[in-house]
Subunit: 332 residues, 2 copies
């Protein structure tokens, strides 16, 4: 039984506890970190789906439809909006509920937007942590909305097992330049507004590309026609997501990717902690203040200075310790 009452409430499905713990985690508080540790056994069970794609393709509308669809199935859904242009961002929760046709008190949906600033460990880590809190809360599905590849601080590959790239039939030249990048991240293409002219051609073209490129894994990107406006193709999209989740559980290349994601998270967590330690040392430690001054005044070079600092932090002698102080550079 976790000692933190807030965590106990989270595990019982208390929405206030979820909101509070997300805030704790975002601020990097010790309570937040301890909560993440203690809930870890309760994570890894939800279907985590990333929705990404260029501006204006109707990502948020499609997510809204998907949420409504999943709620009808009785599945509990969390939505994390990392896209700053998302209507989910900025607390538009009431509006969303109206659009979603969900009762205002629906306890099976929780929407959270991630601020692009002020994430103590970076936006990717903030998103990973929030996914876990939502899983511990009891969400069956967590949907992460990010902007198109290369434009976001969060790489959708870092946080979601299944990645849906949303497109529309006529994206013009944009799609040409995006193509390679999209195929790198897409497990599924959702062609939204599939009632528009040109949709069959777009779908055929994407399927051809998927066949040719078939990436590194044995997964061939699905292409699903749908329409958020007309509420068509939503179940097809969900089935495709489930199919990919099943694949990811079994395929060896998908398992390798999971190991890569883990290594990346560990690296980022360690980097963040090291950064904090360096900052602290540089700002508070007297010896370090002296070192900064010596480098500022040109009495020691910054390369040797950083080796000394590194030795101080790690407690290990640096690989190439400066034998002596640098010859002072002449005063400016």
């Amino acid at each position: 039984m976790p000692p933190d009452p807030l965590v106990r409430r989270l595990l019982k499905g208390d929405r206030v506890a979820l909101a509070k713990l997300i805030t704790e985690v975002e601020s990097g508080s010790p309570q937040g970190t301890e909560a993440l540790r203690s809930i870890y056994p309760h994570t890894g069970k939800a279907t985590v789906v990333g929705f990404t794609g260029p501006l204006g393709v109707g990502k948020s509308s499609l997510i809204s439809r998907m949420v409504g669809h999943l709620r009808k199935k009785g599945l509990k859904v969390g939505v994390i909006a990392v896209d700053p242009s998302s209507p989910f961002t900025g607390g538009a929760v009431l509006g969303d509920r109206i659009r979603l046709n969900l009762p205002p008190g629906d306890k099976g949906l929780f929407v959270r937007s991630m601020a692009t600033r002020g994430q103590s460990g970076g936006l990717s880590q903030g998103t990973r942590d929030t996914v876990r809190l939502m899983e511990a809360f009891g969400m069956d599905v967590v949907i992460v909305e990010t902007v198109g590849s290369g434009q976001s601080d969060v790489n959708v590959r870092d946080v979601a097992t299944t990645r849906v790239v949303v497109l529309v039939p006529h994206l013009g030249d944009d799609i040409q330049s995006l193509k390679a990048g999209l195929f790198e991240i897409a497990d599924i293409f959702a062609v939204n507004k599939s009632d528009l002219p040109g949709a069959p051609e777009a779908v055929r073209h994407l399927r051809e590309m998927a066949g040719i490129l078939m990436a590194r894994t044995s997964w061939r990107a699905d292409v699903v026609e749908c329409s958020a406006l007309n509420a068509t193709g939503i179940e097809d999209l969900w089935k495709s997501i489930e199919r990919h989740e099943e694949f990811a559980r079994k395929d060896s290349s998908a398992r390798e990717e999971l190991a890569e994601r883990t290594a990346k998270e560990l690296r980022e967590l360690v980097q963040h902690k090291m950064d904090e330690r360096v900052r602290l040392l540089l700002s508070e430690d007297e010896g370090m203040q002296k070192l900064i001054q010596e480098v500022s005044e040109g009495r020691i070079d910054p390369y040797s200075g950083s080796e000394l600092l590194l030795g101080r932090i790690t407690g290990l002698p640096s690989k190439s310790p400066p034998k002596r102080k640098t010859t002072p550079r002449s005063a400016r």
Copy 2:
């Protein structure tokens, strides 16, 4: 006498040695780092000027004029183009020489563009290092060209003592949103294309703003009218740069800023070395491979995992050591 023959040649003003050492430094080779250490006493003497500003204001043309002007004075000039849109970037050296009206063999000018990728220690550090190599080579002035504030990976404050923000009379709404950011970095405003209508108003307006904002230092931003096209105001701009350099040598707030820059460089150098160490450990160390696997499989949580990793790197016990392995989370 430095042991590396390349460094000895650099200090004698050998251009080939300069080019080779910049490449060594960019690739992060031990020879590069050792060279930076040994040349350090020969650095800190040049006037390092940052030119920044929005696209299309004629930054590069103004720099070309300034280079020609300084060469006529007999000063040796280095140019580092960090702006990927700069005509200096991409090896347009011949074209530049023609535009500059300099003889093709002019040994008092060296232009180098910094690739935005592949800098082993990041673009800011690459720029700092290249400035130092140019100083050791014997440059009297080093000009660093970057794109406007907030759009660049290199903060012009990190590398240059005097920062020139280039503007044109009619920038429209852009200037409104940039204004605060520009006053934060500008020591001097160069109003280029000052023959265009609206120039006197723009200059008056900037001077008013400079008077009101007068920043944290006792320096009030200069506003200089010039025209790269008509080659007017170039000497005024240079005098303003010299005036600011003189100020920076004496003013206490400018000295504090130098200490901040030093601390930032040390922090970035240490971070870079730590990142390398973490990468190496994660990719080569067997114990770490096992840790990644345990986290991937959910047998240990990433937060405790990163603490273990941190302890491994620093040789110190982490602040909050995980008492036991996490309860395994259920298999997906």
